[in-house]
Amino acid sequence: MKILIVDDFSTMRRIIKNLLRDLGFTNTDEADDGNTALPMLKSGKYDFLVTDWNMPGMSGFELLEAVRADDALKSLPVLMVTAEAKRDQIVAAAQAGVNGYVVKPFTAAVLKEKIEKIFERIQS
């Protein structure tokens, strides 16, 4: 499974990348915000998108909207990483088509659970 990690903070990308690697997902790429991620997504055949919410340039939410608005990408599973599980944010993200969210900081186990849930739902 090819995964794109989007975060403006490279340490965070690395952390997420390591966690994913611990879960056996080794095919990952990184982008530092929505603006760089979107072209990559369009050309890269990614199976999964993990994006931070709060980023300069194009935020995770805008990226999500852009992904859902793109015919080729609209069914791409998106996991949103947020600092707080603010209801309004999550509700907005859900309405915009997010598949899951995870609150920082999280462990590999939590991440795994979130990812599994997303695929459960997609497959059901």
Partner: protein, 729 residues
Amino acid sequence: MAFDADEEILQDFLVEAGEILEKLSEQLVDLERNPDDGELLNAIFRGFHTVKGGAGFLQLDALVGCCHSAENVFDTLRNRKRRVTSELMDVVLEALDNVNLMFDQVRNQEDPTPAAPELIQALDALAEPEVEGESAAEVEAEPESVVAEEAPEPEQPAAENGDITDDEFEQLLDALQGKDAPAATPEPATGGGADEISDDEFESLLDDLHGKGKHSGGAPASKPATESSAPAAGGDEISDDEFESLLDELHGKGQFKAAAAEPEASAAGSNDDLISDDEFESLLDDLHGKGKKPEAPKPAPKAAKPAPEKKAEPAKKVEPAKQPAAPAARGDEPDAKTAPAAAGETTVRVDTKRLDDIMNMVGELVLVRNRLQRLGGASEDEHMQKAVSNLDVVTTDLQSAVMQTRMQPIKKVFGRFPRVVRDLARNLKKEINLVMHGEDTDLDKNLVEALSDPLVHLVRNSVDHGIELPDVREKAGKPRTGLVTLSAEQEGDHILLVIEDDGAGMDPNVLRRKAVEKGLFEQDVADRLTETECFNLIFAPGFSTKEQISDVSGRGVGMDVVKTKIGQLNGMINIESSMGKGSRIVIKVPLTLAIMPTLMIMLGDQSFALPLVNVVEIFHLDLTKKNIVDGRECIVVRDKVFPLFYIKKWLVHGASSEPETTESHVVIVAMGTKRVGFVVDQLVGQEEVVIKPLGRMLNGTPGMSGATITGDGRIALILDVPSLLQHYG
């Protein structure tokens, strides 16, 4: 413990977050000048936010706490709920200092000490919207004072929950009880025995249940009077369960009515705004319809609409916080200066040690090139010469390319100054504007670091001694606000740094008097000093003792240390000043430290290298034309008198007994404003040399800064003009 985390990631975090913190200190000072800059507020908010996020993963809880509180302040600020004031800035800057402190601790493998509770409290208080008008005052201002997080508008809950019914309240309690603090229930319950619960009771109940600081969001729960769905939007955070059900709801196809009810009910389960996993699941179910493909986009959004509406409605009323949140997120977009694209993809972090090694090797290569050039020049072989000149081109390119990798913008040093000036000006009650030019000028990393302290000292001096107090300035007919200008530019293979102020300037006579008082000069000598020489007096050791003692930061760098330091970098420093108009300090340093252009000279059969920075001119001299002044040999060149030194007598063994020649070459060298002539036997020419430190035995030999290998394969000593003169002259 903080160090279970992957050490490598920790190091990465320290570097990257360190950069963010550096930027933050600049941005914060900027902010004070442009308090309404929305982009800036967003950027600062994001800075703290990012550091917090990273620290969270590394279990640096103390760091998380402080950043979180600071972040909240900026969330309030960027939502225009409060205005930037100097007092606020003081607190925020203190917080940043604290964060930096913790950073250092983490760097030293210590556990960071949490910030003082007073500081956190102060921050939290500032995270509150300014209690000015609106509904806040009209309903109940008091309970808000303690509210800490995610409560941009705590007055709202107060306004809404005036009449909560017992049923609702029971429900709410049940929900809360399940979650947080069962013990707390009975008391407030009885307290709210009447049909109407008071705001205070409700607030304190929430406090009890959630612990202070988190309660704010809980209040809105009560608003939507009779509908049980109401408590849904309790706090600010959403639980997983809530989220699930929200998704269910949003994607639910035909049966959204039922679905709508579901999330609400489940939402009621948790009365704060944190969405739970279950909620999220059911939310997803609703959005997508269980088992239905996420396709069928048409009905889905339609169906979804009413559902969220219902939910959103109370939420909106209850929580204005949501509103600003979305625009804020959107506001992020324009403010980004399209960060260097895909940084993660195109850059590599390299240990500077490695760069130093590469630089060293390139240095060796330059030496070999020089040697080959010499040999090639001597040989008749045309092919050989071609190859050598090719090698020359490639080596030069390589050298400049490697140098480029070590270059850093001077911004790294300049970035500290807004803060330095701001703090100092506030301390001294001065009004000062700092203007910086040429922050993007690149220079060698080692230089950037080496220049940092001297520059800080000079800037502090300008602020402390240069700029006058506002009242004094006004009397002198100047604007109250003083101006300090800091600029950097590249000039050939040198960097020119200028620190300029429009302050009082220096009085040469005062300096003369001081010099005599300190016993540096006799009165008559002092009287003869030119103005420039007077200004340069401040670099004399012991001249600026006062500063060394009063240096607030305890760095203890006197002006003489500044001068020495610049000298070590093969640089020059110069002062111009005019009374009442201000002073101007010019520093000239080479772009890099590793390779130095020199003038090769011969004394007897030994080669020496004179740094080209010091060389002013060379000429052929008829030594019979020299004059003797004050018992010293001098020459007159274009009406200027230069003392003449026979360095051969100093440096070459047995040379002092040689008979004097009548003709010789003279090199005029300069150090600061002082110029002298050196008599040399032979001028070889200009050569770029790689500086090799002298061995331990020879280290510190006066007059020598190092050694190098010349083009003809011999060793040449590199002369250090100031120390040479100091020792022999």
